[in-house]
């Protein structure tokens, strides 16, 4: 298959909005169904980076999402919303893979599926260092391994040089500038850029960009099963200290003394 100069796949996860997720410490119930989903925060950084590359060297960028929330109408709508968001930022089109079986898929299964979408069609895969809800960062690494493409994580800067990409990656002990020949898979950090806020008319137009929705059939069995989700017990007193500045300082110190921690 012929590909244009630079085709980028941006992985967008339909992530649970953990800020709005409700958990009940007493009953241990986690209200996952009730919580909304959205595009992962750092996915937006990946999308932004793709748009910047496009602006420099041209080519096309596709948002790719495998939704693992089943096939309910609500989740489908949210998935499309999330994709619309990155399309509005400037990605060209989107692939949404979704199906009932998605709920059991682990990163192994998702990577196998997405690798087939990516292989032969894209030269660069951009992803987030981790997702809002699970923060494992495993998916892009697995996709790279499945495709046998080099993988670089924790990218804080990217620059395209012909068929090479120069990446600054930030590890705990060193900051390195590395160069790889494309194709490659790169996971970016939240600090790599500031995702643009799309214009309203871009959001409207994003609704009309091509969205290729496909059914999900798992290519293999998962390697992981989630047996249980537990709610960690953290008891906080939630006391608000009142009064003016002086009083509040005094009361706080008193409280800490009574706690026996000062």
């Amino acid at each position: 298959m012929m590909v244009t100069l630079m085709d980028i796949a941006v992985l967008i996860k339909q992530s649970l909005d953990v800020q709005e997720l409700r958990v009940d410490q007493d009953t241990g119930k986690i209200y996952i169904e009730e919580a909304p989903t959205k595009a992962g925060d750092i996915d937006l950084n990946a999308a932004e980076e793709a748009v910047r590359i496009k602006e420099k060297v041209g080519g096309k960028a596709t948002a790719i999402m495998l939704s693992t929330w089943g096939a309910s109408g609500k989740r489908l709508k949210e998935a499309k919303e999330a994709l619309k968001r990155v399309l509005a930022m400037g990605l060209d089109d989107a692939v949404l893979i979704m199906g009932e079986e998605g709920q059991k898929a682990d990163t192994y299964v998702v990577a196998k599926t997405l690798a087939e979408v990516i292989r032969d069609n894209y030269q660069l895969v951009l992803a987030a260092e981790g997702s809002d809800d699970n923060f494992s960062g495993l998916l892009p690494a697995r996709i790279a391994a499945e495709l046998d493409w080099p993988f670089i994580a924790y990218a804080t800067a990217l620059e395209l040089e012909g068929e090479y990409v120069k990446v600054t990656r930030s590890l705990e002990d060193y900051e390195e500038i590395v160069r790889v020949k494309l194709p490659a898979v790169i996971a970016v950090t939240q600090e790599i850029n500031k995702p643009r806020v799309p214009k309203l008319m871009d959001i409207v137009k994003a609704g009309k960009k091509p969205l290729d929705q496909r059914d999900f059939t798992p290519p293999s069995e998962p390697k992981i099963a989630i047996r249980e989700l537990k709610v960690p017990k953290v008891e906080r007193k939630n006391v608000i200290i009142e009064g003016d500045v002086e009083e509040a300082a005094e009361k706080l110190l008193q409280a800490l003394k009574e706690e026996g921690v000062l």
């Binding site: 809800d133 495993l138 391994a145 939240q190 006391v239």
Partner: protein, 305 residues
């Protein structure tokens, strides 16, 4: 059941060995690079594999090295830092294994490894069944190094690799070694501080209380007002002090996941609807620029008296 542990920092690697012991009597430690001297007299693993010709910072070679010996092992344990996390997915996939990050406990059950890890932005703990072979990164500070076994040391050769990642430049990061994860008193600062210089309020408070200063991710990683090693949260350090004073941080879930083990949490924020107050024992809804000086003054008076 045979476990391989690898970590570039030896202290951490020994925690991994201890973690491995929970599921196996045979834990092998892989040591890369120039560390022959350091491993003399080291205790804990059943065996040490020393590969001198792979540098401990050479991620690409490490993938190949670990993958090349992986078939002998049922589980591979790596540290849960960026180096470990960059390796774990690639290695797992290459050997057709399961993978997990940020693992806080593990045990063997029939032919799966049962692990616990924090998920949903810190709001839940997932109990996951990992099929074998399994590759995982282990949370720091969860396992105490063992000092029982004196291992044999065996040298191994590095596999030949075809390099695809060329390192053009390397800058060492300054490390100040703030003992955040062990500190008894921590002041955590966020974007509520308007300028870098203003952080001196936090440092002053920390000094009086005998604590250390940590930060939110944007303050450290984006604004770079502090070293990256001091950011607290799901992608940074977890703290467990007796008192944590969070100042000018909104308390988004990814930050708050890192403070769950604190005994007492105090929050200072001028927005009464900031989520940090849900994670706090004592909340002060005030401008930090007014409240911190008053608090510092009171503490000084108390000390003087």
């Amino acid at each position: 059941m045979k476990v391989l542990a690898y970590g570039d920092v030896l202290d951490l690697a020994l925690e991994l060995v201890a973690a491995g012991r929970g599921i196996s009597d045979n834990v092998v430690l892989l040591v890369a690079g120039d560390q022959e001297e350091k491993i003399q007299g080291l205790k804990g693993p059943n065996e040490v594999l020393l590969c001198k010709d792979v540098k401990s910072y050479d991620q690409e070679s490490l993938v190949e090295l670990i993958t090349s010996i992986a078939r002998d092992f049922d589980a591979i344990l790596l540290p849960n830092d960026r180096r470990g996390r960059e390796l774990v997915g690639v290695i797992a996939h290459k050997i057709g294994g399961s993978a997990a990050t940020d693992v806080s406990s593990l045990r063997l059950e029939n032919d799966v490894i049962l692990i616990e890890r924090i998920t949903l932005g810190g709001k839940a703990i997932a109990v996951e069944e990992l099929s074998l072979p399994a590759v995982m990164t282990i949370q720091k500070g969860r396992f105490k190094p063992l000092e029982d076994i004196e291992p044999e040391i065996r040298e191994i050769k590095a596999p030949k690799i075809e390099r695809r990642i060329e390192v053009l430049e390397k800058k060492e990061k300054p490390r100040v070694g703030v003992p955040l994860d062990k500190a008894e008193i921590v002041i955590a600062v966020g974007r509520g501080f308007k300028k870098k210089e203003d952080l001196k309020l936090a440092y002053e408070l920390a000094e009086i209380l005998g604590g250390v200063v940590g930060a939110t991710r944007p303050l450290a990683a984006d604004l770079k007002w502090m070293e990256e090693e001091v950011w607290i949260g799901i992608s940074g350090v977890r703290v467990a002090p007796k008192v944590l004073v969070v100042v000018g941080a909104s308390g988004q879930q990814q930050f708050s996941a890192g403070i769950m083990d604190s005994k007492i949490v105090v929050a200072v924020n001028n927005d009464s609807s900031a989520p940090i107050f849900e994670h706090a024992d004592y909340g002060v809804v005030m401008d930090l620029y007014q409240f911190l000086p008053a608090l510092i003054k009171k503490l000084k008076e108390a000390k003087g008296a």
